[in-house]
């Protein structure tokens, strides 16, 4: 049962003395990220809402990236995937990532197509 804990986060930039300390450190980091997200969500800086990348607002990309960062630290430190064998970690992480990426790709493309059918077609729906 006595697991070895890896106590470094940010690729070794930050090393904690004990597992408990690492948990609090990760909490502080996750809280900071959430505060940034909420602040951006309330302020909605025009520079970020009016620029687009791959058809989506830059602000939304920032939200999604920050979410993935949060998800990484929850899975790695709270669910202690960091301390598991790499084979287990890969089986758990890459399977859903592959399936979900495929699902998102196919559904969003389809949705965009339907959007164009609605907006360019001759059937009126918004009345």
């Amino acid at each position: 049962m006595a697991h070895e804990h890896k106590l470094e986060i940010f690729r070794g930039l930050l090393k904690f003395k004990s597992n408990t300390q690492k948990i609090w450190g990760v909490l502080i980091f996750l809280t900071l990220v959430t505060i940034v997200e909420v602040a951006l969500g309330i302020l909605k800086p025009a520079a970020l809402t009016h620029s687009y990348f791959l058809g989506m607002k830059v602000l939304n990309w920032i939200f999604i990236i920050l979410t993935l960062v949060k998800a990484y630290y929850i899975a790695w430190d709270f669910m202690h995937l960091r301390d598991e064998k790499s084979s287990l970690r890969r089986a758990i992480v890459w399977t859903p990532i592959f399936l979900v990426a495929y699902l998102i790709f196919i559904l969003l493309f389809e949705a965009d197509y339907i959007y164009h059918v609605y907006s360019d077609g001759f059937v009126k729906w918004n009345f």
């Binding site: 049962m1 006595a2 697991h3 597992n19 408990t20 948990i23 609090w24 909490l27 996750l30 809280t31 959430t34 505060i35 997200e37 909420v38 969500g41 309330i42 909605k44 809402t49 939304n60 939200f63 999604i64 920050l66 979410t67 949060k70 998800a71 929850i74 899975a75 430190d77 709270f78 669910m79 202690h80 598991e84 064998k85 084979s87 287990l88 089986a91 758990i92 399977t95 859903p96 399936l99 979900v100 699902l103 998102i104 559904l107 969003l108 389809e110 949705a111 965009d112 339907i114 959007y115 609605y118 907006s119 009126k124 729906w125 918004n126 009345f127």
Partner: protein, 324 residues
């Protein structure tokens, strides 16, 4: 199985009891469950993305829908959801601390941290119930057009949202609830809204300060507000008064919006609820000393995994439902 003849201990690989992934059976099964459950949630969120991209120009703006904080009046977009997120992350932390204390076989500490986790989960579920109640009750009220689109109202002076009660006329009409007993085949009519369609329409006509806000989002990311002339013309399309939300229609805009809200946050809330129940069971087992006698606290670790997963899902729901 001891009676089975084996040639010796050197054939350990096929002798059973091997853990190639370095995790026990129970823990692996919890991980399998989590992966499959993650795919279910992904399905929900991807479906949400699908509907949203399909109606990208008319989808409701979450900041304008979730503006309430209990015991406070006014417009506080997202503060309460941010608070809920924090509560859940915090309860995740107490859960890790419980697991950590379990590894060191510190029973009292496990009990206290499990207790705090349960309290955090209960606060979260309670908050979600409150949020559902607020969402279902609604705030401003709206009209629905023939095409099923929603028309909201704003004040021409300030640009603030107007509730139906702010301007609806009071007409001498008789409105009767259609009850089960009067129906041809025990059909029951929908509950009557606070104001009839006529009262709202007359209210708009007699009140030059009222403008209609449509679902369409303009280039600045705001909903389009019609001019007074357009408003009066648009009134002819109205067919229904909508207050609050149910699975068929809602005052916030696209019908799918409320459906996804109920399904995604509901499914997640159900997970939190079952998480609290499972946590309670483990909590009492810890108090009774079950794991003390067993010599390890792996059950705490397993429910911990589930609990963190619930937190993980919320992080995504928070982003895709409230932020993006």
């Amino acid at each position: 199985m001891d009676s089975t003849v084996t040639t010796g201990t050197e054939e350990n690989v096929w002798g059973g009891g091997n853990q190639p992934l370095g995790a026990s059976y129970g823990k692996l099964m919890m991980w399998f469950f989590i992966v499959s459950d993650a795919l279910t949630f992904s399905g929900f969120l991807a479906a949400y993305g699908f509907s949203r991209f399909k109606f990208i120009e008319t989808w409701p703006i979450a900041d304008e829908v979730f503006t309430h904080v209990p015991f406070f009046h006014g417009n506080y977009p997202m503060y309460y959801v941010a608070f809920m997120t924090f509560v859940l992350i915090m309860s995740s932390v107490t859960m890790v601390l419980a697991v950590d204390a379990g590894h060191k076989l510190q029973k009292t500490k496990v009990i206290w941290f499990m207790f705090l986790t349960i309290i955090g989960g209960a606060i979260f579920v309670g908050s979600q119930a409150w949020e559902w109640a607020t969402f279902i009750k609604g705030d401003f009220g709206a009209l629905e057009t023939k095409g099923g689109r929603v028309l909201q109202f704003v004040s021409a002076d300030s640009g603030d949202r107007l509730a139906l009660r702010d301007f609806a006329a009071t007409l001498e009409e008789e409105r009767v609830d259609h009850e089960r007993k009067n129906g041809i085949w025990y059909y029951k009519g929908d509950a009557l809204p606070s104001y009839s369609l006529n009262e709202v329409v007359e209210g708009v006509k007699s009140n030059p300060n009222v403008l209609i806000r449509t679902e369409t989002i303009n280039e600045d990311g705001h909903k389009t507000v019609l001019t007074r002339d357009e408003t009066l013309k648009k009134l002819n399309d109205a067919t229904l008064v909508v207050e609050g939300a149910n699975l068929v229609r809602n005052e916030y805009g696209s019908r799918l919006f409320a459906d996804f809200f109920f399904f995604i946050t509901g499914f997640h809330g159900f997970h939190v609820f079952s998480g609290v129940v499972i946590n309670c069971i483990i909590f009492f087992n810890v108090i009774l000393g079950t794991y003390e006698r067993r010599g390890h606290y792996e059950m705490v670790e397993k429910v911990g995994l589930y609990w963190h997963f619930v937190d993980l899902v919320w992080v995504f729901v928070f982003t895709f439902f409230y932020l993006v």
